[in-house]
């Protein structure tokens, strides 16, 4: 036994003597994880969260979350002598006087953007592969919660420096609060401690930003990961992979090295961005003043789609018995996002209601094999993308020499017309891809080699695909649509007939598929060739 092995043995027995965890540890250190690049997306979120905690803690050592008015006398000459809040002055101090402060501020901001990109792309991966199905519905809901809180946390974060841009963002948030029927102006006065902007808001959101929300994040992320661990990770279909097994590499040592290494890579890339790519140069905006605004005011990208919805909203306001209801704020600012996030959270239950499928699923779907789900996803993405584009309509208009009116009308029409088109096109594309898979299994791969037959006819030589590939293309399940009774045995319409009819109808639309190739078909065709 080498010295190193002895040390390892001693550590293991030291831990086991005190916890009795030998069995548990052994099992979990050998935990198997399937390998796929898309499984790294969730890791990116986790790592950027840790980077956010580290860089954020650094920033709190200098940041002064106070709206007290001070006269700036720091290192940045253009603003010397200007009245500003202590929050803004300390953000300038971090940027110009604390060594490495600007780097940390930029790392913090870039990490926040990467965190949100990671969440959204991870969510897309989970959605399009059907990883949210039973037994993972809880984790899906936690994920949607993290996305929602992430948007709020990001918004609060870029509001804290109290520069002109962030103050403008807070002003808009205040207007949304104020537009809530009946209690809006009360809520606004409570949130701001009086009239906007007041002195209370920055210190209040500071506590929410650095304590309350990070605490909730930590708790939710822990549960999220524990569930992944306990339920074992899903895997993509392939030869040897079934609903009943997990094929992959053990945690120790492969995944410890890979995942640990990946943390450093994410941190390194974020540090690189922080070093070379300027982000949110607050010194250029100046301190917040409600009477001023900079042209081209843009929120961060994860808020951009909401701002885009607000921008394209028609000027609707109704006056009921002398009371004002601002639909132009309520619909894009609260009602639509509310519907979208609720729909997102409930999607696993909606799909299982449509299919009637209550079984566990651990093998992922290829998106083409769930055309209806894929089409719904692309439809929702199209909606969000049009809103996001409209959130930058002023920048796009000036960059591409368009008028703002053209941009706005494009968005107003596109937001209604494009999502259904995206749905139909995606569904057709998925079915075409299924057809291509079927052809590939039955007729083999096109080799590009042309052969002239004795009759003078030219044919292209097809090569049969490997058994592994053939299995991959045919192993998915094709569920038959629901056939719920609409009429009972005696020929009388059942009370639940209408509901069943609707459900059958949706289920049929969901189950549309190109029949996958079967062994018999393959043999028959092989006989021909």
């Amino acid at each position: 036994m080498t010295a190193r092995e002895r040390v390892a043995g001693n550590v293991a027995s030291y831990v086991d003597d005190r916890t009795g965890g030998a069995k548990w540890m052994k099992k979990n250190l050998q935990k198997v994880f399937p390998d796929h690049w898309s499984f790294l997306l969730g890791e990116i979120c986790l790592y950027s969260f840790i980077i956010l905690l580290l860089s954020g803690t650094f920033l709190t050592f200098w940041f002064d979350p106070s709206m007290r008015e001070v006269v700036y006398e720091g290192a940045y000459e253009p603003l010397q002598g200007v009245k500003m809040s202590a929050a803004y002055a300390s953000a300038l101090e971090i940027s110009f006087e604390v060594r490495g402060g600007l780097l940390m501020r930029q790392i913090h901001h870039w990490a926040a953007l990467i965190f949100m990109v990671g969440i959204v792309v991870h969510l897309m991966r989970v959605f399009f592969t059907g990883a949210f199905r039973k037994p993972r519905e809880f984790n899906w809901i936690i994920g949607v919660g993290l996305l929602t809180l992430g948007i709020v946390e990001g918004f609060l974060g870029y509001s804290l420096p109290d520069d002109l841009l962030s103050g403008t963002g807070i002003r808009i948030a205040e207007a949304i609060i104020q537009a809530i029927p009946v209690v809006g102006s009360y809520l606004s006065y409570f949130a701001f401690g009086g009239a906007f902007p007041g002195l209370a808001f920055i210190p209040r959101i500071y506590v929410v930003h650095v304590l309350l929300l990070p605490g909730i994040f930590l708790a939710l992320i822990t549960v999220h990961l524990m569930l992944v661990w306990y339920q074992k990770h899903t895997q993509f279909p392939g030869p040897g992979r079934t609903e009943k097994n997990v094929v992959g590499y053990p945690l120790m040592p492969v995944y410890m090295a890979k995942a640990g290494g990946f943390f450093f890579i994410v941190f390194g890339v974020t540090a690189f961005l922080g070093a070379v790519a300027s982000i949110n140069p607050i010194w250029l905006y100046g301190p917040y003043n409600p009477g001023q605004v900079s042209a081209g005011s843009q929120p961060d990208w994860y808020m951009g789609w909401l701002d885009g919805l607000v921008r394209m909203s028609p000027p609707l306001e109704t006056y009921l018995f002398g009371y004002t209801v601002s639909w132009n704020i309520l619909i894009p600012g609260l009602i639509l996002p509310g519907i979208m996030f609720t729909g997102l959270a409930l999607y696993p239950f909606i799909e299982s209601w449509i299919t009637g499928d209550k079984r566990e699923h651990h093998l992922l779907d290829r998106p083409r094999n769930a055309p209806n789900r894929t089409a719904i996803g692309v439809m929702a993405l199209t909606f969000t993308l049009v809103s996001l584009i409209n959130g930058g309509n002023d920048i796009i208009a000036t960059t591409f020499d368009l008028t703002i009116n053209q941009m706005m009308w494009f968005s107003r029409i596109a937001i209604i017309v494009l999502p259904p088109i995206a749905f139909i096109v995606t569904k057709r594309l998925c079915l075409s891809l299924q057809r291509a898979d079927r052809d590939l299994v039955l007729h083999g791969r096109e080799t590009g080699r042309l052969v002239r037959m004795p009759s003078g006819e030219f044919v292209e030589v097809h090569e049969p695909i490997t058994p592994e590939k053939a299995w991959l293309l045919t192993s998915h399940e094709q569920l038959a649509p629901l056939e719920l009774p609409e009429i009972d045995g005696a020929g009388v319409r059942r009370p639940a007939a209408i509901r069943n009819k609707i459900r059958n109808r949706i289920s049929r639309a969901h189950a549309v598929a190109v029949p996958k190739a079967t062994e018999t078909e393959r043999r028959e065709l092989e006989g021909h060739h």
Partner: protein, 334 residues
Amino acid sequence: MSNSESREVDLIKDPGLPAHVHRRTDTDPVAAKRAERQVAILFSLSALGTLLLIFSFIFVSDETFFFIPVMGQTNAHQLGIGLGMAIALFCIGAGAIHWAKTLMPDEEIVVQRHEFRSDDEDRADFVKTVKEGAENAGLGRRPLIKRTLGAALGLSGLTPLLLLRDLGPLPGDDLKKTNWKAGTRLVTDPGDRPIRPEDLEVGAVAQTQPEFAEGKERHLEDIAKDAVLLIRMRPEEFNLDSERLSWTYEGIIAFSKICSHMGCAVALYEQTTKHLLCPCHQSTFDVTRAAKVIFGPAARPLPQLAITVDAQGYLVAQAPFTEPVGPSFWGRLS
């Protein structure tokens, strides 16, 4: 269902996990040695990155700038610290992953999953335990306890609401009032100088605030409601009814600068079209028609401030705003 079941029987067979293919590093000691060296080089690069960070932090002044194509004038101190940190972290990660991929075992392991559902006996026991527990607590049999407990819990939910009451004052009619009164002078912002009509040329725009008595300080809350834009044009360009026309003075018209949509500053004035544009959501107001909304999400014109001149010839408000300024709220008109 029968159709799909028959298809499942007719499936193409699963060929099973493909045979393991050894990497070069598994079979060739030279390749393994090379991989080991590569990992070591990556870790050493990381150490160099940290040295770069230390060097830049201590020895490079933060006033050293140099030119880099694409990035332009760049601060050497910041860049050195940042790049050093990036290299240090990235290379640790790259080294660890290269190590895992070339030298650690890459044979896939298969483990079995177990259905989460417990067996029927355990489930029945579980259900029984829950039932018994509820039974023993006697909630079902003692409705009085159930109802009073429900009421108590519901009521206690009011506590946090009540305790949060002092977060802020009630708005009252605060949102409907500004500091503009009949006779308040318009003063420049910044500068606080009173304005004569002749100070403004045709086509000019000025941001103004109400004049404050000596010693009264102007807070951001005041600016958020009081900011007023003055615009001067030729009087014949107005397209106003007689009342609104009487609110102007020699071609000078005054509007609240706070957008009637979401309260941003309506800061962009296009002189040729006489349009005011809010940069936040692009609501566009026609100045010649009393700031009527001609485009965008705003539902109401910007409130107009009636102005005239006082005895000394300075511009003053004829009267306060006739409606609340800024974004809408429920009780705006009541």
